[in-house]
């Protein structure tokens, strides 16, 4: 073996560009050491290919062998047959060429346009190969995890990442929250973007829970000067020892019909009740919610409103639920939207924690209302900046959980989140959606998601919806279905040169915190130096 850490696997025996190539394993390589998701290089005659194992299978030369199997207790016979009469096959999907032609030498890895020739040698990718493809940690690239069974770092280009809306998927307990926290740290360190996080379960601001262990530190503990924690439930935050920066209150007059549209299902409202909201809003204006709740019966409806008794009752019952939410007041004493924008403008990331109000009604209402108004501000400022040729506001990434509640097909084209997802980043705002049921998200929205990061999914419909639109769905499906139940993910789409499988970077040990912080500070110091230099230019 010439290269020390490239291990020979076998030779290419057949294949096609569309379906990938078949590699016949050498008898010295055991199928049992293989795993889908591993990276492989193939030494073609003129080019080097880089790909991923997407399936592993067994072959026999003679079908008789399967009918009258040899005596397996005889190790001699088994050893002779291994790799000759019986052999292992790898299905490898080549994605990139990494050397050989001029373009890939000058411009780095290129998408494949052909397949390696017959009997080309396949090796496990070496550390250098992986670094070549996924890049080294630098000011744009962030170490997000490692390949399965390797110690090399796999990096994600976050500058590219934030150019689109992105999604993190996976069934419950697979590591979405941990991965998101890691990514948010990355965004905070490596991108120009600033984050607004709607933190339904109080996991991102101060501390997060860890299965079978002590809580882990979250963003504000690690980066106190870059993160502000807003809370809906001051008492609860205080009890958890969180140092908060702002207490959020919502006024009745801030709630608009669109918020009610989203809440239709959770509040059990009829179609007609939602229609009535629009009418009432037109009639009463900002105070519509209070005015509606004050109505005793349809008799008291103002002129020109045609709302049935049962519809009004249905609506009033729903609105009463909202009124009971403790953070809602007649008029909000403080300007939450203003304060959030103020922080974001200074480059401070905002985590809004919900305290005890983890019910879906609170979450949808608050996230939607605030996002709608913040987005309106961004829109205005971006348009103004374009008109006057001045600086646009900082790119903003909004993180929401339970994304399908905001982006399901029934509501996706009526809500602000649907709009943001579809507009890409026209107004410098993108989404980071987290969901365990991606099949609940509208197809069109899914197709607009730039980079998808998915942990294990086992529901067929969820898998299909995440992989929809990829050219090698079948292959990726087998990779996705075989991820470990925790801390492993498949990443594909806009920000990565090819689909990649990672073991997510470890989060929660003292070393991991030190690692996150020190890299960040080095980066920030560099930035400070740069800023000072620019002062004198």
């Amino acid at each position: 073996m010439t290269q020390e850490n490239s291990q020979r696997l076998g030779i290419v025996v057949s294949g096609s560009l569309n379906k990938g190539v078949e590699v016949r394993l050498d008898s010295s390589a055991s199928v049992e050491d293989m795993a889908v998701g591993r990276y492989v290089t193939i030494e073609g005659q003129k080019q080097r290919f880089f790909g991923m194992i997407t399936d592993v299978s067994l072959g026999v030369i003679d079908q008789k062998l399967t009918l009258t199997p040899p005596d397996v207790s005889d190790s001699f016979t088994t050893e002779v047959l291994a790799g000759t009469s019986t052999y292992g096959m790898l299905h490898v999907s080549p994605y990139l060429t990494i050397a050989g032609d001029v373009t890939s030498l000058i411009e780095g890895p290129q998408p494949v346009k052909t397949v390696p020739s017959h009997f080309s040698t396949a090796n496990l990718a070496s550390d250098q190969d992986i670094e070549l493809v996924f890049g080294k940690e630098d000011k744009e690239r962030f170490w997000i995890g490692n390949p399965l069974d390797m110690e090399t770092k796999v990096c994600l280009n976050l500058q590219e990442f934030v150019k689109r809306s992105n999604g993190i998927f996976g069934k419950s307990g697979t590591g979405k929250t941990f991965l998101t926290r890691i990514l948010l740290i990355g965004l905070l360190q490596k991108s120009q973007a600033v984050n607004l996080i709607f933190d339904m379960h109080n996991e991102y601001g101060w501390a997060g829970t860890r299965e079978g262990g002590a809580p882990v530190k979250a963003l504000k503990q690690l980066f106190p000067s870059n993160v502000a924690v807003f809370t809906l439930d001051e008492e609860n935050s205080r009890r958890r020892g969180v140092s908060t920066d702002f207490v959020v209150r919502i006024g009745y007059d801030e709630i608009e019909p669109e918020d009610i549209v989203l809440l239709r299902q959770t509040l059990n409202l009829t179609e007609l009740a939602v229609e009535a909201v629009h009418q009432l809003f037109r009639k009463f204006g900002k105070n519509w919610l209070q005015s509606t709740l004050a109505l005793k019966d349809t008799e008291e409806l103002p002129e020109g409103l045609n709302i049935h008794e049962s519809t009004l009752n249905n609506l009033q019952r729903g609105l009463a639920t909202i009124r009971r939410l403790p953070f809602i007041e007649t008029h909000a004493p403080t300007n939450t939207v203003g304060s959030i924008l103020n922080h974001l403008d200074r480059g401070i990331n905002v985590v809004l924690e919900f305290g005890r109000y983890r019910d879906i009604t609170s979450y949808i209402l608050v996230a939607n209302m605030l996002t709608r108004r913040i987005y309106a501000q961004y829109q205005e400022r971006v348009e103004k900046a374009m008109g006057e040729n001045t600086i646009k506001p900082r790119p903003l990434v909004i993180t929401i959980e339970e994304a399908h509640k905001f982006l399901n097909p029934q509501v996706a084209n009526q809500t602000i989140f649907g709009t943001i997802a579809r507009e890409m980043r026209k107004y410098n705002v993108t989404l980071l959606v987290i969901d365990q049921r991606p099949s609940g998200i509208d197809d069109e929205v899914m197709s607009q998601i730039g980079t998808k990061i998915t942990c294990l999914l086992d529901n067929e419909r969820d898998i299909d919806s995440v992989l929809a639109g990829t050219s090698d769905k079948g292959e990726l499906k087998s990779v996705l279905a075989k991820l470990a139940s925790k801390q492993q993910a498949l990443i594909f789409g806009h920000a990565v040169p090819m689909p990649m499988v990672i073991r997510t970077r470890e989060y929660g040990s003292p070393e991991s915190y030190r690692d996150f912080i020190s890299r960040g500070e080095a980066e920030i110091n560099k930035q400070a130096e740069k800023d000072i230099e620019e002062l004198w230019e």
């Binding site: 008898s27 030369i61 003679d62 008789k64 062998l65 040899p70 005889d74 001699f76 016979t77 050893e79 002779v80 047959l81 790799g83 000759t84 009469s85």
Partner: protein
Amino acid sequence: MEESMQMQRVGEVIEASTTEFVAQCYELYQSPPLGSLVKTRDLLVELYGIVYNTTTTSLEPGRRPIARGKDEASEEEIYRSSPQLLELLRSESSALVVGHNQGDKLHHYLPPKPARIHGFVYLCPSEEVKEFSQSFNFLTILINTHLPVSQDELIAACLRQMSQAYEDRYAFLVAAGKELAVLLGGEFNQLKAILERIRQ
């Protein structure tokens, strides 16, 4: 080539064709073992053969030996009381040509010409067996020839013999087995029969 001392001379060619040669053994019953690698020389070319058959018959064609031991106490007594028997009988070994050495290059295919009559026949020493079996190409010849003995038996005997030249006999036999597995392809039953005969 200097005739080395350890090279064991076993007989002399008495019949030759392109594909095989027959050696008469110098001593009755002192034939090279089944499957062993032997060689003989035709001027510049050394021919290698694998012993596939050995016969012991009457020297005079048509005359068959008769039973003699009725009044003897043991089998040895028969030969002791009729010493002329050793002159009347002979052992002959047939070897299948599997390769040759020409100009110091080893080839695992048939030589241009057959062996010469009266060429001396030697049993190859371990070193030479090792060298010859660096390549398993000779197995193709064994597989593709029709012989009076069973092919499976011959191949197995040959590999068993050769393996004795190796310190790691097991590794040699596994390697040979793998070669056979490839050569025999779909003939799994034949492969199995051979493997059963060589397994350690």
